[in-house]
Structures are given as structure tokens and as C-alpha cells.
């Protein structure tokens, strides 16, 4: 009877462990797919969409994670296939530098204006 109880406890714990690991994997897939644009849908992420394209994409991301690929490697792979457009959060490169730098420039410029106004007073 004691052995049986121990057996049940071990099984229970391993199930919880497996479940937990699987959940972490799914979290990772969700995180990546939320940052990917569903290219055949309008205004939806891969995570939100139930189109064939998005479902296949999610399966592929899961496969890549199982293969041990990191998040950045997956983004790199997908941008090679589909271009920068697929990622909502674009990387800094020669095409996107203005997108990243303009808010910073405006912020600094605004800051200078305010400081000047305050110091004049």
C-alpha cells in the first residue's frame, strides 16, 4: 500500500513537472507569435489569427524551440524568409534608424527648448 502511494505521488509530481515545462514552451511560442505580423490577415498578429498561415507558423515556432533555437534566431530566420515587415518590433538597421532615432531627437530638442525657456525666465 505504501509503495502504491509513493508511486502515485511520483507520477503526480512528474505530471506537474511535464505540464510546467510544456507551459513554459507555449509561453515562449505565444511571446514570439505576438510579435509577428500575420502577413495574409489585416491588422492581426500571428498569435491572434486562426488562418492556415498563422497556425503553420505557430507549429514551426514550436518546432524551432524544440530544436533549441533562441528567440532571436527564430526572428532572424523569419525575416530572411519574409522580410522585416513580419516583425512588429523592427530591428535597428539602415532602413529603420529614423524610426528609432526620431523620437529621441525630438525628445532632446524639446528638452532643450524647455530648459531655455525656464532659464530665460
Amino acid at each position: 500500500m505504501k509503495k502504491f502511494k509513493l508511486f502515485i505521488i511520483i507520477i503526480g509530481f512528474s505530471l506537474i513537472l511535464v505540464n510546467n515545462l510544456r507551459a513554459q514552451d507555449t509561453d515562449q511560442v505565444n511571446k514570439i507569435s505576438k510579435n509577428l505580423r500575420c502577413l495574409i490577415c489585416q491588422g492581426q498578429s500571428v498569435y491572434d489569427s486562426q488562418s492556415d498561415f498563422a497556425i503553420s507558423m505557430k507549429t514551426l515556432i514550436q518546432k524551432k524551440i524544440d530544436e533549441g533555437k533562441t528567440e532571436n534566431e527564430i526572428y532572424e530566420f523569419l525575416t530572411k524568409k519574409y522580410g522585416d515587415w513580419i516583425i512588429y518590433d523592427p530591428e535597428l538597421n539602415k532602413n529603420t534608424f529614423l524610426l528609432w532615432l526620431l523620437p529621441l531627437i525630438l525628445f532632446v530638442f524639446g528638452g532643450i527648448l524647455i530648459i531655455r525657456k525656464v532659464s530665460i525666465k
Binding site: 502577413l39 498561415f53 497556425i55 503553420s56 518546432k63 524568409k81 522580410g83
Partner: protein, 178 residues
């Protein structure tokens, strides 16, 4: 006077913004997938429809001629319409066509080929659609013209083949032969 200048500046700025947005309206904002052409993943392996064995895409690409990779499914209606073009390309121009059977039932796929003819030298099955995604596909049907030497996609045809696309493929293939 200063008030007037301020007013003029505001008006000019508004006009400038209006012109920028007006120009932005004309610019096509639809994403053009044709611009991304890259190397075919020759290491991709999948099970074949008829022989039931794993084979890599690299082995199927014709080393002496152009190859076409066609993503299709029996449930896809446009695939039915483009099928005659594929048959002609294979028969008349003797092009090696590799089929990727996208998210399909094997029985339906085989029936489709039995009814309409089989232009493919080999068909890889892609039950969960991941091979097509690795190839950079958006859906079905899609056709890629692959260079024999570099394994590079020369041209991507999104959607069913039609007269224009058919002529384009024939032109590219014939020009290279000369």
C-alpha cells in the same frame, strides 16, 4: 505683425502636413512578397506522397535544368485551375516540377492527381504546413522558379498560374537554354 507671422507659419505647417499625408495616400501600402527571393533550403526533408520515404528537397532539384516548386492542395480551387499550366510546362517544356502537398489528405491528393494528371516529378507532403513556411510561402497555390546552379529562387509566383505567368516562365527557361 508677429501674430500674422505665427498664423502664416501654422497655416504653412498644416499645408505641409496635408501634402505629406496626401502623398502617403498614393503610395501603395500593400506588402509585396515578390521582393524576397532567397536560397531554397535544400536540407528540408519530408515524406513523399507515393513512395512513403523521407527525401530532401536538394535531391529533387534538377541539376541540369530549371525546377519549379509548386505548393498545392486538393481542397484549393485555384490549384485546380492552374493545374493545366503545370501539365503543359512539364510536357512541352520538360521542366522538373516538385510538388509540395499543403495540409491535405493523402487520399484526396491522389484522387486530384488521378483526375487531372500528375505533372510532378516528386511530391513531398506537408501535413502541418511547416515546410511551406520554411520555403517562405503565404498559402496555396504558389510556384517558385529555381535556378539549377545556385538553388536560388529566381521568381516567385503568388497565386494561381495564368497565361501571363506561364509565358514568363517559358521565356525565362528558353532564354537560358540558348
Amino acid at each position: 505683425m508677429i501674430k500674422n507671422i505665427k498664423f502664416i507659419i501654422i497655416i504653412l505647417f498644416g499645408l505641409f502636413l496635408f501634402l505629406v499625408f496626401l502623398k502617403g495616400l498614393d503610395k501603395p501600402n500593400s506588402y509585396s512578397p515578390n521582393s524576397i527571393l532567397n536560397q531554397i533550403e535544400t536540407k528540408l526533408t519530408a515524406r513523399t506522397l507515393y513512395k512513403n520515404k523521407e527525401i530532401s528537397l536538394g535531391e529533387l532539384i534538377d541539376k541540369n535544368n530549371f525546377s519549379l516548386i509548386n505548393v498545392w492542395a486538393s481542397w484549393c480551387l485555384p490549384c485546380r485551375n492552374e493545374h493545366s499550366y503545370l501539365i503543359n510546362l512539364q510536357k512541352i517544356n520538360n521542366i522538373n516540377i516538385i510538388g509540395i502537398n499543403y495540409k491535405d489528405k493523402e487520399i484526396n491528393a491522389k484522387k486530384f492527381l488521378k483526375d487531372l494528371g500528375n505533372p510532378y516529378s516528386e511530391i513531398l507532403i506537408d501535413p502541418d504546413g511547416t515546410i511551406s513556411i520554411e520555403l517562405g510561402a503565404y498559402g496555396v497555390p504558389e510556384t517558385y522558379l529555381v535556378n539549377r546552379k545556385t538553388n536560388e529562387v529566381i521568381k516567385k509566383f503568388i497565386g494561381p498560374l495564368d497565361d501571363l505567368k506561364f509565358k514568363e516562365i517559358v521565356k525565362i527557361v528558353n532564354n537560358e537554354k540558348i
